[in-house]
């Protein structure tokens, strides 16, 4: 019973369950999978990636502004004026809460 025992056991059962689901769905006329909507997916994922890339290199304030600006167009109702106000407000709030109040270990801003 080495380190591989448990994962192999689970993986085998999982593969079996997967096969059963596959065969069941081939035999029956199941409902079609709902089509994904790309707009929210693209902007939201991009915002997370932008945050991941900028938090260490540039710090919390730039990362916050970048993430909010990139995320906002995910909604069809977004407006630039609101987004900019939100980005600035959130940057100030995040800096106050996470760096000053909770003294989390992250840079405020660095270039």
């Amino acid at each position: 019973m080495g380190p591989g025992y448990f994962p192999v056991l689970i993986a085998l059962v999982l593969a079996m369950v997967g096969l059963i689901i596959l065969f069941k769905s081939l035999r029956s006329h199941a409902a079609a999978i709902e089509r994904p909507v790309l707009r929210p997916l693209v902007f939201v994922l991009a915002a997370i990636v932008v945050f991941a890339l900028s938090i260490e290199r540039f710090g919390l304030v730039p990362a916050t502004i970048a993430a909010i600006v990139v995320a906002s167009p995910a909604s069809r109702e977004f407006r630039w004026s609101e987004t900019i106000a939100l980005a600035v407000g959130m940057a100030a709030f995040a800096a106050l809460v996470f760096i000053y109040a909770l003294s989390q270990n992250m840079p405020l801003a660095r270039f």
Binding site: P7, I10, V17, E34, P40, V44, I48, T64, A67, S75
Partner: protein, 499 residues
């Protein structure tokens, strides 16, 4: 009466100024996110987990628990006033609560909802206090073989009570177990599935997993649909319900409290299932079931009592046995483990202040919620005017900061993106992610105890049937599995989720 003095000790701990403050904070936050649709207690707790890391374990649990039951209160407010259930557990409150509001009795509905919740909260606190000693005695008997079977029971229950196809739920649970094995193997010190990716040596970040699969996947599907906006009915004129309301409601409250307290104990259920069940029961018991759906007081009182009682008693399986019944409880377990406290080793005996302090804080929190909610309803409803296009970037941002700050690791933020996409795909494929999260938390424990049990028995699986408690639990597992396979139960289950 030993537990009563222990409860008193819990009260003195919970009345500490810090604990009171964070209890209030948790209740306020919980009410807020309960009111807002599109963000639930699960995502909020996941976002706040990194912050609680620096707090005292009791204080952090008090705050997180406050968020959980506070959300039950907040959810019913919008359900009654706007026909918008803030949380799944208040979906049934819409049925009769909104009807009452349409008839100009919004105030009475809100007061009945708050008072039944408060009553249920008080009874559930007592219920836990009375139950704790015998459960503690039981949990002393739990050794590795029993623990293996208990975890299996928890996993099977999470499959039974998940939405959609049971087969897919099984696959989700297995996937969760597999994700849990990633990283360094505790027994041998060897690494698994990590290649040369250093941040994976400690395993996947469970905050990233929970926030991605639940919080952000929810956010993504919210963005697909145009914003749901309820219409506010009239002004709230009279808050106090009439004597007639009380006469109609009190039995429903009692039944709902009893039902909720018991259902919260069962692994896999929780507040939402309890409130649904209570509504069905009330309809059955009513002299005139046709009133239901047209503003029946019992239809508000019963489910509201049930969801609050269940929210509280669902802490029992977690704290006593270390088996989280719902995805939210799995997060609470994560919070405890981050603090280095292993639930399941009978916290009641090893850390009584933590256990009783939390229970006492729930009662205090319920009292606070009563005070916060009734006079401040207008304020909470105003919160709803914040549009989702402002709300979602903020939720997204706090998720990123939360995940990053836990380990100061931008790799974890990348994982958040991966899990958000995965969670979105799972939603499209009709797979409920709750069994995955529960299995992810329980997986490493299951493996450890399974291997330990088999070492004790020198590889013989007979150890699981030789021990009476383990055998009894195995029978429960088999019975549950039998239930899923049974066609008549499957039909019932689908019907229940349909309602």
């Amino acid at each position: 009466m030993e537990s009563m003095s222990a409860l008193a000790g819990g009260f003195s701990a919970a009345f500490g100024i810090y604990n009171l403050l964070f209890c209030l904070l948790g209740c306020l936050l919980g009410t807020l996110i309960g009111v807002l649709p599109g963000i639930g207690p699960l995502a909020t707790i996941a976002m706040l987990l990194p912050i609680t890391f620096a707090m005292d374990p009791l204080t952090s649990l008090i705050m997180l628990a406050g968020i959980y039951y506070g959300a039950q209160y907040g959810g019913s407010t919008t359900a009654i006033l706007l026909n918008l259930p803030g949380e799944t557990s208040s979906v049934v409150t819409c049925l009769d609560g909104y009807e009452m509001a349409k008839r100009g009795r919004a105030g009475a509905a809100l007061a009945i909802a708050a008072l039944s919740s408060f009553f249920a909260g008080c009874v559930a606190t007592l219920f836990i206090a009375l139950l704790a000693p015998s459960l503690a005695a039981f949990s002393m008997q739990v050794r590795s073989p029993e623990y293996v079977v208990l975890i299996a029971l928890g996993l099977v229950a999470s499959v039974v009570l998940s939405r959609g196809s049971p087969l897919k739920a099984v696959a989700m649970a297995l996937l969760g177990l597999l994700f849990g094995t990633l990283g360094t193997d505790v027994t041998s010190g060897e690494t698994r599935f990590v290649e040369n990716i250093l941040p994976l040596y400690d395993g996947l970040s469970f905050v990233a997993l929970a926030l991605g699969l639940f919080g952000l996947a929810e956010l993504l599907s919210n963005l697909e649909h145009p914003e749901a906006r309820g219409t506010l009915v009239g002004r709230i004129t009279r808050l106090w319900p009439s004597l007639d309301d009380f006469r109609q409601a009190w039995k429903a409250v009692l039944r709902g409290t009893g039902l909720g307290s018991v259902m919260g104990l069962l692994p896999g259920s929780g507040a939402a299932v309890a409130s649904f069940t209570s509504y069905v029961v009330e309809k059955r018991f009513a002299h005139d079931p046709s009133r239901f759906g047209y503003g029946a007081v019992e239809g508000v009182a019963g489910p509201e009592a049930a969801n609050n009682a269940a929210a509280q008693t669902s802490f029992i399986p977690l704290l006593m046995l270390g088996i989280p019944g719902t995805a939210t409880m799995a997060l609470m377990m994560g919070a405890l483990m981050m603090q280095g406290i292993a639930p399941g080793s009978a916290i009641v005996t090893t850390n009584p202040t933590l256990f009783w302090g939390l229970i006492a804080s729930m009662w205090i929190g319920n009292l606070m919620l009563l005070v916060i909610n009734l006079p401040m309803i207008g304020l909470w409803v105003k919160m709803l005017s914040v549009p989702y296009r402002i709300l979602f970037p903020s939720i997204l941002l706090f998720s990123c900061i939360g995940v990053y700050s836990l380990n100061s690791s931008s790799f974890d933020v990348w994982m958040l993106a991966v899990f958000a996409a995965a969670g979105y795909a799972l939603r499209k494929l009709d797979c409920d992610a709750a069994p995955l999260l529960i299995a992810f938390i329980l997986g490493p424990l299951l493996e450890e105890h399974l291997r330990r049990a088999l070492v004790i028995s020198r590889g013989s699986p007979m150890i699981f049937i030789e021990r009476p408690i383990a055998l009894g639990l195995i029978i429960c597992v088999v019975a549950l599995i039998g239930l899923i396979i049974l066609p008549s139960f499957r039909a019932k289950r689908e019907e229940a989720f349909h309602e």
